[in-house]
């Protein structure tokens, strides 16, 4: 039987291994991203150099300056793209959450025929690849005159996110005991009040986690956005990235600068809500 001392030594070895493993994993996760951040501050000549330049000789804001510069100086309407992205992502996330809450609540609280089939049917809509969807969707939206509008893209993203939000929120509402709403109703709430005042606050964390997933999906989506947007009216940042390409050239440094602008809000948001995110997923996961 192992002695106390060897157990202590093993514990220490294990925690060292844990630290090293975590360090390596985090490096692998973060380095490619940080490489992009670094590139956005480096002159093009140093980015893809041979022999490689590991320690930057000079860091500057040229790519950013150019990006915010006027037409013809390498500028892209980045602030407009940013605004479009923000409007579209935030609105579609909120709407998807509302629709998802209604749907999730229905699945969690009511019994009806064909529930399981309807549920899987809703989920399966998410399985349709964007490639297969983009053209017919475009034709319909073109007929409806909502191509290149915020509305068209918002509608699309709501549809993209609803299955997942329904699922997650359904799982969450099942965790909220039915008695809670019943107690509230006895206390004089209408069913609607009971939902808003009691069940919704309890399920908040789950809704937050559904929200962050929906937001990130909308924020980063490219395939459909490239089809449904056309001009500064509605082009989002992922589509805007392609402004840095022309037929034969590609401005990687500029792309990186725009990418940094895309990543920062998402990162801040995630950092702020990640606690809820974990709590929400926890509830949504086990039962459901």
């Amino acid at each position: 039987m192992a002695s106390n001392a060897s157990h202590r030594a093993r514990k220490r070895a294990l925690s060292a291994a844990h630290f090293i493993g975590l360090f390596l994993a985090m490096s692998l996760i973060c380095l490619p991203g940080l490489w992009i951040v670094l590139n956005s501050f480096r002159p093009t000549v140093e980015i893809m150099a041979k022999p490689p330049v590991w320690i930057p000789n000079s860091l500057n804001l040229d790519h950013y300056r150019a990006m915010f510069g006027g037409v013809g100086e390498g500028g892209v309407p980045v602030l407009t793209y940013f605004r479009n992205s923000l409007i579209i992502s935030v609105t579609s996330t909120l709407v998807a959450l509302l629709v998802g809450m209604a749907g999730g609540y229905a699945f969690a609280r009511y019994r009806f025929k064909g529930k399981a089939a309807l549920f899987v049917g809703l989920m399966a809509t998410r399985a349709v690849p964007g490639v297969a969807l983009s053209l017919p969707l475009f034709i319909i939206m073109a007929r409806a005159g909502i191509i290149d509008t915020h509305f068209g893209l918002i509608l699309t993203y709501v549809a993209l996110n609803v299955p997942f939000t329904v699922w997650l929120i359904d799982g969450f509402f099942r965790q909220v005991p039915r008695e809670l709403a019943e107690a509230a109703e006895i206390d004089g709430c209408t069913r609607w009040q009971a939902f808003w005042r009691v069940e919704f606050p309890v399920a908040r964390a789950g809704i937050a986690s559904a929200g962050i997933f929906a937001f990130l999906t909308s924020w980063n989506e490219y395939a459909l956005a490239s089809q449904l947007t056309r001009s500064v009216n509605s082009k989002t940042m992922p589509v805007g990235l392609l402004d840095f390409t022309s037929q034969f050239t590609l401005n990687w440094g500029g792309m990186c600068a725009l990418a940094v602008l895309m990543i920062i809000p998402a990162l801040v948001l995630t950092f702020l809500v990640q606690k809820h995110l974990i709590a929400g997923l926890t509830f949504g996961g086990v039962k459901g």
Binding site: M1, A2, N4, A5, H7, R8, K11
Partner: protein
């Protein structure tokens, strides 16, 4: 089988100490109950014995080995958890046999041990069910069965009965007691229920705020509590405590009522004291209070009576404090009736008013 020895055991989270240098010797085969209000450190102490919590200081011996840094698996203990901690994805049979399977025992041996444990705990018809399909009492028995199959040196129980209803609790209490008598294994049992502690323990360890207040047999801690905390914690209803002062060789209460100093106790003139008397030892005159060598009498106004069948509990006011008394020959007591009560002074206690320590001489 083995004795368990705690020497100056400390548990600290950073600067916060939750267990303060506990010393405790548990003899081989002894049934020791750790009892105290929630947050007193009893569960933490048990978990340190189990190896589920790191020990911050002191030495822990099981048998003759220091086991401070050994993982639970090397301590040869078993534990019954408050929430049973059954493996939900395994059948009862798999739950029972799990530890033996981990120990790589032969199939036949495992089957035999499981059958045996199931017999003892009447689990045989449930062996193929999953925990989700069992009632609370059945789960409890599975948890115990899981503990006994491997014949450990020490059983650890962490509030095992707290999730059961009153009737089942009484029943399981008896089963645990029988089990101990049958197996003779050392048991460390944690509970916040003093009735469980009294009925089960060979010795009770009363804890508060990470310290041991008193160790003793159930009768010892009941009859000679070392302080007001133990006095009120052990026994139901809790001991009545009356604030007073020593004046002229007697205890003088706030309203001037004078009670003699209980025999075996003593305090200097003028000292602030607390007079303690259990409901069993204060009864209305004529209600069969067993006579003792020294008796006293007081008059009190009854506020409320609670008939319990064989006896009635009376709530009366004495010097501004509510006192609970018993009535062994029940009769209806009208509210506000003034009655004379007898007190068995030999069974009363005197504590220091500030520190709560018993003032025995």
């Amino acid at each position: 089988m083995a004795q368990v020895q705690l020497q100056g055991i400390v548990k600290a989270y950073g600067a916060l100490r939750v267990v303060h240098a506990i010393d405790l010797d548990i003899a081989d085969g002894e049934f020791v109950v750790l009892v105290g209000p929630s947050g007193c450190g009893k569960s933490t102490t048990l978990r340190m014995i189990a190896g589920l919590e790191d020990i911050s200081g002191g030495a822990l011996r099981i048998g003759d080995r220091v086991v401070n840094d050994l993982p639970p698996r090397d301590r040869n203990i078993s534990m019954v958890f408050q929430n049973y901690a059954l493996y939900p994805h395994m059948t009862v049979r798999e739950n029972l046999g799990f530890s033996l399977k981990i120990a790589k025992r032969a199939e036949a041996e495992i089957a035999k041990a499981v059958t045996e444990a199931a017999e003892i705990l009447s689990l045989t018809p449930l062996l193929e069910r999953k925990p989700g399909q069992l009632s609370g009492g059945q789960r409890q028995r599975v948890a115990m069965g899981r503990a006994i199959v491997r014949h450990p040196d020490v059983f650890l129980f962490d509030e095992p009965l707290s999730n059961l209803d009153a009737k089942l609790r009484t029943q399981m209490r008896v089963e645990i007691k029988k089990l101990h008598q049958r197996l003779g294994t050392t048991i460390v049992y944690v509970t916040h229920d003093q009735v469980e502690a009294m009925t089960l323990a060979d010795r009770i360890v009363i804890m508060r705020d990470g310290r041991i207040e008193q160790i003793g047999t159930p009768l010892e801690v009941f009859e000679t509590p070392v302080n007001t905390f133990v006095a009120t914690f052990i026994g139901s209803p809790p001991m009545n405590l009356l604030a007073g002062r020593i004046a002229g060789g007697a205890v003088e209460l706030a309203d001037g009522t004078r009670l003699p100093i209980p025999p075996g106790h003593g305090a200097a003139e003028g000292r602030a004291v607390t007079f303690g008397v259990r409901a069993d030892n204060i009864m209305p005159v004529g209600h069969a209070l067993p006579p003792t060598a020294h008796m006293a009498e007081v008059e009190m106004e009854v506020q409320l009576s609670e008939p319990l069948g064989t006896e009635t509990l009376l709530f009366a006011m004495l010097a501004g404090t509510e006192v609970q008394a018993k009535m062994l020959n029940p009769r209806p007591v009208p509210l506000g009736e003034r009655l004379r009560f007898q007190i068995s002074l030999d069974k009363c206690h005197l504590f220091d008013a500030d520190s709560g320590v018993a003032l025995r001489v």
